[in-house]
């Protein structure tokens, strides 16, 4: 090990210690299982993902260095040495492939959810926007906004909310938000070209909610999930009535180590605190 290696290990900072490598790997694994288990997009773990991507990059470099050193060592006396080198290489590559699979699966799952519920997430993001005009159609589904929208928005593309000014992108990552907007714009112009252009003016919006039925479909949070309770005691909490925010309905109480089939909305908060894990 020379001075460059020491500097490099310092550069990698807190994420470089082996204990945090193991914990990060466990966190990524748990996040993957959770992301696969529910139908909404979970909050993007920015810090964790950055650390993981750094480590993957670093590991690829290590493997390339090792492979290079094995190919330019023509010394025939080191044959047994070469055998363990190949073994080490194959172990490192297997480990890398397993981690890459996890990351890829997380990303693909999220992309699938995003393209399925794209309008829902766009509306969610734009409702946080500081620019009030972007949110008008959702915040007041009343007659007045229908009038203005029929007058100004006649193309389906116009109903795609603009999220460029939104700063808080949770639960998405930056790249995902960008994908979401581009994807939905393309989709809207395709719809316009293929069939929506023939519709009456006031039926061309993609977030149409005339007649009390919203055309925007979100993920189903009342689906059941399998969870294991990790904290001491965790109650299942669901909102009692949609009209009253603070009124809650406390259901069964899970105890440590228990596995339950419960509604996702009932354990979502506990999941965010890390007191339950999805199976």
């Amino acid at each position: 090990m020379d001075i460059d290696d020491i500097l490099a290990s310092v550069d990698r900072g807190a994420g470089a210690s082996s204990a945090s490598t193991a914990i990060d790997h466990q966190l990524l694994t748990r996040f993957w299982v959770a992301e696969r288990a529910v139908s909404e997009v979970l909050p993007w773990p920015t810090a964790l993902m950055e650390r993981m991507m750094d480590r993957v990059r670093w590991q690829i470099e290590t493997i390339e260095d090792l492979a290079a050193s094995s190919s330019d060592a023509p010394d025939p006396s080191s044959k047994s040495n070469n055998a363990t080198l190949n073994l080490r290489l194959s172990i490192l590559q297997t480990d890398l492939a397993r981690t890459q699979f996890l990351i890829r699966s997380v990303l693909r799952t999220r992309l699938a959810k995003l393209s399925k519920h794209s309008m829902h997430y766009l509306v969610l993001l734009s409702s946080r926007s500081t620019n009030p005009s972007a949110t008008q159609s959702q915040t007041q589904p009343s007659q007045s906004s229908m009038d203005t929208s029929t007058a100004t928005n006649t193309r389906p593309e116009d109903s795609v909310p603009d999220i460029s000014s939104v700063t808080d992108l949770s639960p998405l990552s930056e790249a995902e938000a960008q994908f979401l907007h581009t994807h939905q714009s393309l989709l809207a112009s395709h719809y316009a070209g293929s069939f929506m252009g023939a519709f009456p003016m006031n039926l061309r919006r993609l977030d149409d909610n005339a007649g009390g039925t919203s055309m925007v479909q979100g993920p189903e949070n009342r689906e059941v999930v399998f969870v294991r309770c990790l904290g001491g005691e965790v109650p299942v909490i669901v909102a009692a009535a949609a009209a009253e925010e603070d009124a809650i309905d406390i259901g069964v109480t899970m105890r440590m180590g228990d596995v339950w089939v419960v509604r996702w909305e009932g354990v979502r908060d506990a999941w965010e605190r890390g007191e339950v894990e999805l199976l």
Partner: protein, 272 residues
């Protein structure tokens, strides 16, 4: 289509998870320690025992570079005992045998007397983190702590058991008997899972749920689609009932003290 699989991890992904379980090996050759993305690997020095993730242990085993010491539960005696509890014991007629305790959780005998104390670790971001399978040492050779502890099936028992029977049957004690017992256990537990369908209605109501403590990962994977489908159907059937119940509760509250939210709701309704 970015991702074709349904909600919830599928069996091959569950097996992938199970390969992260730590097992004990006796190496046959030296290998220096490695920094893997899943955490560091200790140096292998024969004949000293070492703990490795199952995927690595199987890789070494297939190349005859190591022998795997089977986990304590993967042995005809404890498996026979668990099978007896699952099929005969009065307390476990409709439940699975208790799983191995999590860190900080008292063992089954002490559970009435002692409160569980969850012992969190901390993530690099400073959040609390409670480790759970597959990252607990439930499949290492020294897994069972004391003799009076009842043997228990770990979360990934189906996968770990089958993978070891496939790849390392020469390291197991009486693999044929073990295989038979695993199959019997699976059938007994599958029958319990099916007889539990009646109570699924409880999971369809708001705060309700169905307890499946002691269930294995593969068993969850097998039942996920069915259970989720049934509960979803029941929820839709019961939706109007639940709505009525919620409205009754809201009314009770409104009678106790008037608040403005009721008014808004009415206004929304009138517009449509």
């Amino acid at each position: 289509m970015a991702f074709p699989h349904p909600r919830g991890i599928i069996p091959s992904e569950i097996a992938f998870l199970a390969e992260m379980e730590m097992v004990t090996v006796v190496p046959r050759q030296r290998l220096e320690g490695l920094e893997l993305l899943g955490g560091p690997i200790e140096p292998l020095v024969p004949p000293r025992r070492a703990s490795l993730p199952l995927w690595l242990a199987l890789l070494l085993k297939r190349q005859r570079r190591a022998n795997i010491i089977p986990p304590a539960w993967l042995h005809p005696d404890p498996l026979g005992l668990i099978l007896e509890v699952e099929s005969q014991h009065q307390d476990y007629k409709n439940a699975f045998s208790p799983p191995p305790p999590l860190p900080g959780q008292p063992s089954v005998q002490d559970r009435a007397a002692l409160e569980p104390i969850a012992r969190p670790q901390y993530t690099p971001d400073g959040d609390r983190y409670y480790p759970s399978p597959p990252f607990l040492a439930q499949n290492t050779a020294q897994a069972s702590t004391s003799a009076r502890d009842m043997p228990a099936l770990p979360f990934h028992w189906v996968e770990v058991g089958n993978m070891l029977l496939d790849a390392a049957s020469d390291d197991l004690v009486d693999p044929d008997q073990t295989r038979r017992l695993l199959k019997d256990l699976r059938e007994v537990r599958m029958a319990k899972m099916r007889s539990g369908v009646d109570v699924l209605d409880a999971a369809a109501t708001g705060g309700g749920g169905v307890a499946l403590t002691g269930v294995g990962a593969m068993e969850v994977g097998e039942e996920r689609g069915f259970v989720a489908g049934v509960v979803n159907g029941l929820r839709k059937i019961g939706a109007s009932k639940e709505q009525a119940r919620r409205e009754a509760m809201a009314e009770q509250r409104a009678n106790g003290g008037y608040d403005g939210t009721q008014d808004d709701e009415e206004e929304d309704y009138m517009e449509f």
